[in-house]
């Protein structure tokens, strides 16, 4: 994407000041009481799905900058009362990147031109102690819960997985809505299925999963804006398309920048949508209640999450 085109789009989508100069929740403000009630109204059959990957050494990370979680046992067969043998507890400790598997990005996770969402100064907000503003705790309280809208783009295209270089367009999103018979509502959380997750969960190919990948084109940010979505999550690593061209362009991770920095739109990554999508295809219902609260990690740049979908 050309920087001039990007800047024009960014300006159009920018929500700075929209919810007050001190706002740190961005598009989550689209979720009002009515939205929450509508979300609950989607629960018709009592079917529950979790959309999270496991947190362990066999996770998707390749081990360079980010690594897979490590859990250490610190107590095992420790008696609660030394005088009573055989009554014991066990404890453990985890060491993990906040961005290691299924997770939400905080607004502070990316920026450009020295500013974060809502015009925060990157120099002031980003410190070696973490995100003094725009940290994940602001998305965690009261949490991320709303109506979820699954758009199954792989299914729309008649494939199990989109090709590695496929950039999802606004037309694709509209076509999926039409095909699925759904309409986005204010405050919806969009769940985008590319099928890319299978490269990890089925093929066991970490490098393929974490490498170049299909995903949303930058223009989809405008679609999210026009429909007043509260958040967007996908079943790939980056939500957006990762291709050689965009990474080498003047505007790398353009969708991330537009969403997190200009719009204040939370992004969910590595959501495993396979079982949910299969169910939606079967019953024809692509809307649901999504409960995906990040951990309230103070000043964190992200948080692991175990998202729940309830239909």
């Amino acid at each position: 994407m050309r920087r001039s085109d990007f800047d024009q789009l960014a300006e159009k989508l920018r929500n700075w000041g929209r919810w007050g100069a001190a706002d740190q929740r961005g598009c989550l403000n689209h979720i009002g009481a009515e939205t929450l009630k509508n979300a609950a109204a989607e629960v018709k059959d009592g079917k529950l799905f979790n959309l999270g990957l496991r947190f362990d050494r066999n996770g998707p990370q390749l081990g360079g900058g980010r690594f897979n979680p490590r859990v250490y046992v610190t107590d095992l067969f420790t008696p609660l009362n030394p005088a009573v043998p055989g009554v014991c507890y066990a404890d453990d400790v985890i060491h993990m990147p906040l961005q290691s598997a299924t997770q939400w990005d905080a607004f502070a996770h990316v920026h450009y031109d020295g500013q974060l969402y809502n015009g925060c100064s990157a120099r002031e907000c980003l410190t070696e102690k973490g995100a003094a503003k725009m940290g994940i705790e602001h998305l965690a309280s009261p949490g991320i819960l709303s109506r979820g809208l699954l758009l199954d783009i792989a299914r729309l295209k008649g494939v199990d997985r989109l090709p590695l270089d496929y950039a999802i367009t606004v037309d694709d999103l509209n076509a999926a809505c039409a095909r699925q018979g759904v309409k986005p509502a204010v405050g919806d959380i969009l769940l985008v299925r590319t099928g890319h997750m299978q490269r990890f969960t089925v093929d066991g190919d970490r490098a393929a999963f974490m490498g170049l990948q299909p995903g949303l084109s930058p223009a989809c940010a405008e679609w999210a804006h026009d429909h007043s979505l509260a958040a967007v999550a996908a079943d790939n690593m980056a939500v957006e398309i990762l291709d050689r061209e965009s990474l080498a362009s003047e505007t790398p991770l353009a969708f991330h920048m537009l969403a997190l920095r200009d719009m204040g739109l939370p992004l969910g990554e590595m959501f495993n949508l396979e079982a949910l999508a299969a169910d939606c295809a079967e019953d024809g219902r692509y809307t649901l209640m999504l409960s995906a609260p990040p951990l309230e990690v103070t000043n964190g740049f992200g948080s692991p999450v175990n998202p729940l979908a309830l239909k």
Copy 2:
């Protein structure tokens, strides 16, 4: 509690084999499709509360065996494309006990007489690699979501916080139900408010919060059993009463043992119920939808959680 009394009670409540010899989800099996629909039906006003503590250095841990979470920044102002200055991301890593703040216990967390829930051999299941069986991942998939029933025992007793040595009785639970006009239903998650949380959140007194504390008496396990509850959480550190007598007894943490080991009843600790309880007192509705999915940490003895209550 005398060991012989304990054993008699344990035998009565024991659910081993009830959901099959391979079951690792225990009382969560009480949550069926109807339960989930009923949970959603509790959403009447669109009010959302998060019940989690923050995960940071100022958490409740005293720093002996368990410590408060530490977050380390690993990337800051790192350019996405070295050729494009000013377009940057930030990353971080967390190091924390899985039992550090608001959290669920896995069944593998405690045991006695060499056996875990469902008769698993402690020797075989508990290893320095974690819980080979009865780990938190089994409670995390598909997650913990059900109707929540708040019983505000502090309010029942007309105090902000129960005294440190107060053991909640079955009569208290029944009295609270009567006073609040609620009835427990199959699959409910019981939320017990003692007010003890205020000793940490209001007084800032970690030592008081983590020390001797009010909570459920062991007999309440039978109440949970009789009502087919799916899980129990409370606003103190241990769910149950911690007094000198019980810690020094033949049956330390008796409620934990009955719940986690005999019944397969998940326990949620350090749930912050203050705001929710205030709202319930105001509108008189003490039932809600509770979504509190543990992270799917393979072989983990517990998991941090950010529980959401939706009314």
Copy 3:
């Protein structure tokens, strides 16, 4: 200390450029081949002492910014060949501040006025990835080994431990040399005994050990400079005096700043000199060979060390 006095002293002691514009070893350059031979020549009786504290949970840290080391077992009874039971190994992992117990400070550990030792720009050298320059690896290769000169100031003053507010003066250093019959030589590593260590090792009083403490006055930096010392270590936490006045002054940790930033003089902290000092008092010999190599931690701000003294 007044800032103007400090600046005058700093200018006098500043070694920037003395060993070349690219130098990152500072006063360790005083250690030449002759120094090393003289160090070995001090070995007359074959007596070996280690001057390190233990690295474990019972260390001196209070647990705020810095904490005591944690070691996690990752393998236990793991068979080397699954087909051969009973032939096993065990492994573990450590998590510790590089400044947790007995340790060396890297030059990058402190700075003022935007510059580190040898005029390095703090903005350029200090990043969230660590010390791009002046990291501990430069003191670790080839390591810190030289003649050690123990000055037992507590003994000089006839006390077990100097009072908490005692600032060691240049006169004290000279008096100790005279009393002990020693002369500092070029390249010596000065070991200063205050006795303060006993507040931790004997009294077990962490807070006293880590709080206000006796140590070198800033003027001692000039003594180190005049005698061309290679490094200075002490048995307290900060080498220098920590009193209310200096901490609240315009020039906090003045000795650190002069040593690490202006002189390039490595500082060793929490060296346990008790057994060595007792031996020196007995045999009257206060010079020895000191081998105290930091770990070669790339970009580290410090390193744990197990210093050896050989007489």
Copy 4:
């Protein structure tokens, strides 16, 4: 190696009880005052070498069970006195396996038949809290310092690096002594150069370095025994030969077992001997003072080290 042959050899070499039933230092007991004086007497030219690898993300570990060290910055530009801007410190934290790069094995690191060195019960000594006995702290106090004897087997064979399947024999050791004009003395630390280190430091090939590799044959343990060596270190990962045959045999890591478990002979791994060996070849002197103190990590199965050789 056949188990029966192994057992015969093990019995011959076993030092259990030799230095008392409570001994936890094994062959380090060979280092007496005379040994230490002789070690110092080897210092003739004042040449200092460090034999350690760097501790950072680019270390030799492949990232499965063991991983390369990670260092996290926790303070950067933190003012010492908030009222005095610009006078700052920086701090960091390390997370690393105790066996990640250049390191010593504790006796507790391996065992067979349920017993460790000196007949300790593995069940009693090895816990999820670490090595209750035979931990690295016993080798760390007072530390490992003695005369070092470098045997350059690669040079003896006229190659830069021994072939991957080369098992060093007792004859090789004797031939190297003869060729180099040296004799092992009681309390010596043997440094074995295979050249294998180059596969990591020169080729940058981690997988080759950590895979099958040349090293000592089990019979060399008897040579170490007969010469009353205090410790053995080498420039490969395992000290001993790692070939398919031995790994699949009844006695995997036979040399480790004989050394650590039967003899109480500390093993040093991944010592970088390249520069030292080049110097020894040049001046013809293969004996030196070796100072290689492990960190005093309580209950640790090993320790990183920065070994110093002084000639």
